[in-house]
């Protein structure tokens, strides 16, 4: 992978929701292989920041830029994976079928569906309807989505919630691999991450 020169930078971004300013004058910059930990109290705007970076919420001010190394142009949304509280799994479809759709999104293809499920240790449940999975298993099934299509930016919202110690270690390995191969990641979290963050950003401190 060649993301050596990839860089994500936010310049004085601000987000307003329902007429209330969530944060403003926020700037950060991330280069390949870096993990930014976003911390802050409940309601400080961690999820809002990640959704704004993903382009799911409009920016009230400021700008976001992503220079993706060899990959040229394209909207920032096509360069990132958003891993949020909602897992996007359909209860009546099997784990494999759920994942099959997400393997077809834009981006360089990564692992095959079954390999991705092996990586999150769910391959034995691949023909189980997603409705029967536990909270932690749903989370891991959702994590497999990040592996079937390679995108340089991972936006992780409370990535380790509902995961047991073993799954958290697995997640740590996957995240470390992603960073090592030139990816970058933003993680909003309350708990220490399994991979040491290279920088941190505390919201609500100002």
């Amino acid at each position: 992978m060649n993301h050596a020169s990839s860089q994500l930078s936010a310049t004085e971004i601000a987000v307003t929701r329902g007429g209330r300013s969530i944060f403003s004058q926020l700037s950060f910059s991330l280069t390949a292989g870096e993990l930014l930990a976003v911390t802050g109290a409940n309601g400080a705007g961690k999820s809002t920041l990640l959704r704004a970076v993903a382009g799911l919420l409009p920016l009230a001010a400021g700008s976001l830029r992503f220079q993706g190394g060899s990959e040229v142009g394209g909207p920032i949304g096509e360069s990132l994976h958003y891993f949020g509280h909602l897992d996007g799994l359909k209860s009546s479809l099997t784990v494999r079928d759920n994942l099959a759709l997400w393997a077809r999104i834009a981006g360089r293809s990564g692992l095959s569906g079954i390999e991705a499920l092996e990586a999150v240790e769910l391959d034995h449940l691949d023909d189980m309807p997603a409705g029967y999975l536990s909270a932690g298993q749903r989370r891991r099934a959702s994590l497999a989505r990040l592996l079937v299509v390679r995108r340089p930016i991972w936006l992780l919202d409370e990535p380790t919630s509902a995961l047991d110690a073993r799954a958290e270690a697995t997640f740590g390995t996957l995240l470390a691999d992603h960073l090592k191969s030139g990816g970058l990641a933003l993680a909003a979290t309350h708990r220490p991450l399994p991979v040491a963050a290279t920088a941190s950003l505390t919201l609500g401190a100002a």
């Binding site: 799911l56 009546s92 079928d97």
Partner: protein, 223 residues
């Protein structure tokens, strides 16, 4: 990217046909409305045959509108909609794919069931053929128009009947030209081509306007 488009159509069909999908509820509702009409108007076969095509169309219209409220709401509730936005497929095409999938799962069964229900109402072969043909041409228009309403209420917690109330007025032209195509042959003796061409035009126009307006409504509701 076309892979995602067709994958989304397939997933919509499977979810709709699967457990709790509600594809068959529309068909059963269609049957119930049609079956109740003869009880209401009495055993006058002539009258039934005359109002039959219109009843079939109205029943199909209501059955279509009933199934629309969850079209985007489920995807919003479970986070799929966020992933659609980030998929790289333009949101307009996401709406188009969802609408096509929804038509295949809920509209097409109505078209296939229409000949059977035409028999219940005592229609003759010509009228049955025309009802089926006009429903085949017209039901996509109902769903494309309905998709706009479904996208509008996505941000609301409880859409329910609101979609039907919102969308119903805009589907009246489709109903008028659908039914007048049939009556042109069976009763009035007017030329059949003009109303049928207008019906086709309505379907084609709504196939463009529906996805564009639906995508705009989804974007507006994203906050």
């Amino acid at each position: 990217m076309t892979g995602f488009f067709f994958g989304l159509i397939g997933r919509t069909v499977r979810l709709s046909l699967g457990a709790g999908g509600g594809a068959f509820v529309g068909l059963i509702f269609f049957l119930s409305v049609v079956a109740v009409v003869p009880f209401g108007v009495g055993p006058d076969m002539k009258l039934l045959a005359r109002i039959g095509p219109a009843m079939l169309w109205i029943a199909a219209l209501l059955a279509t509108l009933l199934g629309l409220d969850r079209l985007f709401q489920d995807d919003r509730d479970d986070g799929s909609l966020d992933q659609f936005v980030l998929s790289g497929l333009p949101l307009e095409l996401v709406v188009l794919a969802k609408a096509i999938g929804h038509w295949l799962a809920t509209g097409l069964p109505l078209v296939i069931g229409a000949p059977v229900f035409g028999l219940i109402l005592g229609l003759d072969a010509t009228a049955i053929g025309l009802v089926t043909l006009t429903l085949l041409i017209g039901t996509p228009a109902l769903i494309f128009i309905g998709a706009i309403g479904a996208a509008l209420i996505t941000a609301l917690r409880r859409g329910g009947l609101l979609v039907a109330v919102l969308v119903l007025p805009f589907t009246i032209p489709v109903l008028i030209f659908g039914v007048s195509t049939i009556t042109a042959v069976t009763t009035t003796g007017m030329p059949v081509l003009p109303p049928m061409l207008i019906l086709m035009a309505l379907t084609l126009a709504s196939a463009v306007i529906g996805p564009v307006a639906g995508a705009a409504a989804l974007r507006a509701g994203m906050d």
